[in-house]
């Protein structure tokens, strides 16, 4: 607490202060109550009582004057320091060594700053214990920082669990923290806040599909079975950290795990719609019977390759691990042995074209 904070408290008394276990009212004499302990005091007395409880004053000042009560940012910053779980003393105690929360793959740490204000640090959860990270202070830098994953690949979906590591914002104000989080995971704070207010507006798949135009118009043709498979392909925790709150429509829940993310997904995203469009065109094809010659191990190898690609494990398969079906030498060997110009096992994809 500092002098201006104390002055602000005295000045606010006439209109009444009521915040986190601190209440002050009156125009002198004043009624001041801190953590249930109530006094009738004159102004020097008010200053004295407040001076003995500096945390309560700085806490009031921080939340009402620095952050500004109400709204998504306020709610989010309160959540970060677990304001609804701990009283002021417990919180200040915890903040003196740092309180951490995860938000997707982000680790947010709140600490006490100057005069009871807060300072926030932001980094990848995997870098929790690390020092020597690349430091940043401008939230705008987050846009470029998260554009590529650690393998250098472009991340078109912000909430894919591929957030790059190695950077940190060591000292952000509350406002800048929320801006940085919003650049990393756009609109997640706003939608999380709406959800907590019981006001999350969910647009389900059918409604989203109906709205599409141009080349995306066809996504409404996706059957419910295909939609289930699409959600399983794109929206589960291993692919996206949002918690899927949309379903086929209001009545028809999808039988796919929603995910355990902190923040909700309120509508199929543009990447999902783009994928859905492809899935519709795939679904238009009739199946055919093909006859292949493969050994049992080769069949398992094909399955292993599909699995490895689907799980994003291809890069992990060791160069010399010949027991892995998705090993490159094994895949090349399979291709050399079983694939000809006609296709797998010499079976043409379109036999009718061959006959012509």
């Amino acid at each position: 607490m500092n002098a201006p904070q104390l002055d602000a408290l005295v000045a606010s008394a006439p209109e009444g202060v009521e915040f986190d276990d601190l209440s002050v009212s009156g125009e002198g004499p004043y009624t001041v109550s801190i953590a249930g302990d109530s006094h009738e005091v004159d102004e020097p007395g008010l200053r004295e009582v407040a001076g003995e409880n500096p945390w309560f004053v700085s806490n009031w000042y921080y939340w009402t004057r620095v952050v500004g009560a109400g709204g998504a940012r306020y709610d989010f910053l309160r959540w970060v320091e677990r304001a609804d779980e701990r009283d002021v003393s417990e919180r200040y105690e915890a903040l003196s060594t740092g309180v951490s929360r995860t938000w997707g793959q982000l680790l947010i740490t709140a600490e006490l700053g100057e005069d009871g204000k807060r300072r926030y640090a932001l980094r990848h959860v995997e870098n929790a214990e690390e020092s020597g990270l690349e430091p940043y202070d401008d939230p705008l830098d987050a846009r470029e920082l998260v554009k590529h994953d650690d393998r250098g690949r472009y991340r078109p979906l912000s909430t894919a669990p591929t957030l790059p590591t190695g950077w940190e914002f060591p000292d952000l104000s509350g406002e800048d923290l929320v801006r940085a989080v919003d650049f990393v995971y756009p609109a997640t704070v706003a939608n999380w806040h709406r959800e907590r207010q019981g006001e999350l507006d969910v647009t389900h798949f059918r409604e989203t599909a109906e709205r599409q135009s141009g080349i995306y118009e066809i996504v409404s043709q996706l059957s419910v079975e295909e939609l289930e498979a699409a959600a399983e392909a794109c929206c589960v925790d291993s692919q996206c950290l949002k918690r899927r709150m949309w379903d086929e429509d209001e009545e028809t829940e999808l039988d796919v795990d929603r995910g355990s993310g902190e923040f909700p997904c309120r509508e199929p995203c543009s990447l999902f719609i783009t994928a859905a469009r492809k899935f519709v065109t795939l679904g238009r094809e009739e199946t055919r019977a093909y006859e292949f010659e493969l050994t049992p191990t080769e069949k398992e190898q094909v399955e292993g390759i599909v699995d490895a690609v689907a799980e994003g494990r291809v890069e992990e398969v060791r160069e010399a691990d010949l027991n892995e079906g998705a090993n490159r030498y094994r895949a090349r060997y399979l291709r050399a042995r079983r694939m000809t110009e006609e296709g797998l096992s010499g079976t043409p994809t379109y036999p009718e074209d061959q006959e012509r």
């Binding site: 709204g71 705008l140 846009r143 554009k147 590529h148 472009y154 078109p156 979906l157 912000s158 919003d182 756009p186 609109a187 704070v189 706003a190 939608n191 709406r194 507006d201 709205r211 135009s213 141009g214 509508e267 995203c269 543009s270 990447l271 783009t274």
Partner: protein, 290 residues
Amino acid sequence: MQALVIVGHGSHLNPGSSAPTFSHADTIRETGVFDEVREAFWKEEPSFREVLRTLESDEVYVVPLFISEGYFTERVIPRELRLEGWDASAWDSPDGVSATHATLRASDVEKAVHYCGPVGTHDAMSDVIVRRAETVTGDPEVGEGFGLAVVGHGTERNANSAKAIEYHAERLREAGRFDEVRALFMDEEPEVDDVTEHFESTNIVVVPLFIADGFHTREDIPEDMGLTDDYREGYEVPTEVDGHRIWYSGAVGTEALMADVVLERAAEAGADVGESIERIRAGDAGVAGD
């Protein structure tokens, strides 16, 4: 409080596609005239669907970083922003190049949304094309002895896309600074492939009216014009083709002065932009371009 939202196309495949939107937003942020400046995209995040809810301001100016009126600006963007009662006639642009702005409400937020016409059809865009020609030639006086080609995509889904190109070509021709001015296209006549046949001037500045540098501006157009056989090998500026010297500029949308057009659009819709337009014109409001 007033906010500016610059809406761009973005891409799921090309990370550079959002770069001009970011850089113009940064330039405007530095002027400090808006309480909030936000980018939003069709194919990236924040999406058009979510951007308005991330703002605290109740007056929002939305400027599309698109070249022409048509499918995206008249249909996709207003629909995705949930602009209630939107109708393209609100822009009063029967010729497809005269859109101004319309004030509407979005159905998911309590805000007034001033929806502006695209940057590409604003008169100030002609100045950006000229600035681009100055930048690529390194000559602030460029004009005499030079031909200027304004290049567009040409017909696809949007008939208005050619109109924006022709509109600026006509304005620039009337301004008389360049010896010759032509509108050329990738996919319709007159084609950019035959650029040298359309000019008598030895020096030709070629400015593609595209927002971001990508496949078309980096690969197709340089190859089509014969600047290089393979874009990966690059090309010189200028490059000699059939006895002409071609000064190829890349996408006009990456020019720093574009931020000025965005501000012009917002100001015309009622935003208080102070002196910022003059400052950007004078080139002292931060850096942009990519």
